[in-house]
Symmetry: C2
Subunit: 339 residues, 2 copies
């Protein structure tokens, strides 16, 4: 399997990206190949020579860099030799079986969608992230690929995230919740209400009905489906709130006693590690005709390593084939523009 990695993506590129790729090698086979995409003169000198019987690692030149805050579509047009643009083209030309980037999310989504196209039967791709909660992992889809969701999109996210959750995280018959503002059937906007009807009518879906924001952490669902605007707010709010809360705890501990704060430190570290979504190696762009992972901008080597391993699992488990098969079997389709 050939995995292309954006060597220039994210705040810690290229050092952490290269380190992550190198770390992953021992978990790969000699049939695997890692392709670092970035300015050859910067990346190549940092790549160690491959060991025998291990996955190969090579560099493909992409001299331009798209910054984190550049407007996605415009930057792709202006920088056809950027790592994101080059990777997407490699995927299109079947020169790479998977693409991974911790760079500009909007540019990744736009480029991957444009070059790789959607899977047959998929109307719009969605980004799925895994939230590690005290009650177990919860997959949330979409967290930002599609901010103007139609009901059919939400329905397809639930199907795709279900297959992903089952095959990648071993969740048998995953429970699907639909994000709304109350558990009762009558709650939610028109799009949510129509999506709920679709989910309810699918006999193969373990649909638990509407969920509220708090339910993500209550162990009542394995999958939370929402539109990309809401999902993006959820993702970033969670990040900010966890940071803010630990800041508050630290402050209180220091006010109390330094010694107590020191004792508490390893516990915080353990919690951070245990509930760290970096463990899951980034977010999958579900519904795309290929394997595409988008990592957090602050990704360290460990995230990249985990993303590489996740991409391999996604590819070898043939998740996309399963999605196509499942969607071809369902009778729930878009029959008019409003869906």
């Amino acid at each position: 399997m050939r995995i292309a990695i954006d060597a220039m993506g994210g705040d810690n590129a290229p050092d952490e990206i290269i380190a992550g790729a190198v770390e992953s090698i021992e978990f790969l086979s000699e049939n695997d190949e890692l392709i670092l995409v970035g300015p050859h003169d910067v990346i190549a000198p940092q790549v160690p020579s491959p060991k025998a019987k291990k996955a190969a690692i090579s560099v493909v030149d992409a001299p331009q860099v798209i910054n984190m805050d550049e407007p996605p579509v415009e930057s792709l047009r202006k920088k056809p030799k950027s790592s994101i643009a080059v990777m997407s083209k490699m995927a299109k030309l079947h020169q790479a079986d998977a693409v991974i980037s911790a760079g500009n999310t909007g540019a990744c989504v736009a480029a991957f969608q444009m070059r790789m196209r959607n899977l047959p039967g998929v109307n719009r791709p969605g980004i799925a992230v895994v939230f590690p909660t005290f009650e177990g992992p919860v997959t949330i889809c979409d967290v930002g690929a599609n901010i103007a969701c139609k009901p059919i999109n939400l329905y397809q996210y639930s199907v795709m995230a279900g297959i992903y959750s089952k095959n990648l995280h071993g969740v048998e018959n995953p429970r699907v919740g639909l994000m709304s503002i109350g558990q009762e059937d009558a709650k939610g906007n028109e799009i949510v209400k129509k999506a709920r009807e679709m989910m309810k009518s699918d006999p193969n879906m373990n649909f638990v009905g509407n969920i509220e924001g708090r339910d993500i952490f209550k162990g009542i669902c394995d999958i939370a489906v929402c539109d990309g605007f809401v999902g993006n707010v959820i993702l970033k709010l969670t990040e900010g709130l966890v940071d803010g809360l630990f800041k508050a705890i630290k402050h209180e501990l220091l006010t109390e006693k330094l010694r107590l704060a020191m004792k508490f430190k390893p516990i915080i570290t353990r919690i951070y590690r245990k509930y760290d979504y970096n463990e899951y190696g980034g977010a999958l762009l579900l519904g795309i005709n290929g394997t595409a992972l988008i990592c957090h901008g602050s990704s360290k080597a460990r995230t990249i390593k985990n993303a590489i391993l996740a991409s391999k699992k996604f590819y070898t488990e043939k998740i996309n084939d399963k999605i196509v098969e499942c969607l071809s079997r369902t009778s729930i389709r878009t029959d008019d523009e409003s869906r």
Copy 2:
């Protein structure tokens, strides 16, 4: 001032509601009157006789009760003698200057809107809650009154929340952020983009631009404006995440050492108290022609007491007059349906 309180609202009614009302008396004046609305035979025996030179406390009979999970509009139609229906009518007939309920939020919003009507110039009311963060309080509006916001609604929420934040929390020139999925101007859906243009064009608004979910906790804004669907998810997610995180911390501490867990307990309690939104006494329904507070279903006596005091401040500071005046001065209005 006459303050009507739903004696049957919320999970801890009527005991905690009555207790909260009684607790508030010492902070009120002899010109104030508290009116507990609920089944007379249940409530009256629990109300202590008023002391001289203190606010009076009375009971208005409302024999029916709307449960927390009943469909709002239907329940109001079926139960015209419920506490929520009776209170709303009292407000309409100027028999009460403020209404407070910890009951069914949907029923409260529907009843208050129907009976009290909107302030002149306000298109749709919005619910404002205060999030106490490490960096200071942040007012979020709307958190569930309006799940199909138009740009003009978002704009008016920012105006109303600004006046509220300034006059109730003493924030001079409050910084307004518009919830989106990226800080760049181009980010967000069409409604957010149009609302941003309105906010930008208001010379009296201290508009900081788009914010992301994490920014609520970063001290970059005093007000976060969003549609009621997103705001409701934010509110409930925060609740669930804080609970989940403390559960995780507790679990780790107990795995470690019981003694350490005991030492940490008072710190958790202090944090809970410090960042407890109950301190703010519930959520204000901004834009309604009157003073209406909606409290969390789990409200205890302290929340109700704080809500009573907040309603008095809202009323005496003439927040509504200020909202009407401010909106009458602005040239930003809805000129077509799409706004």
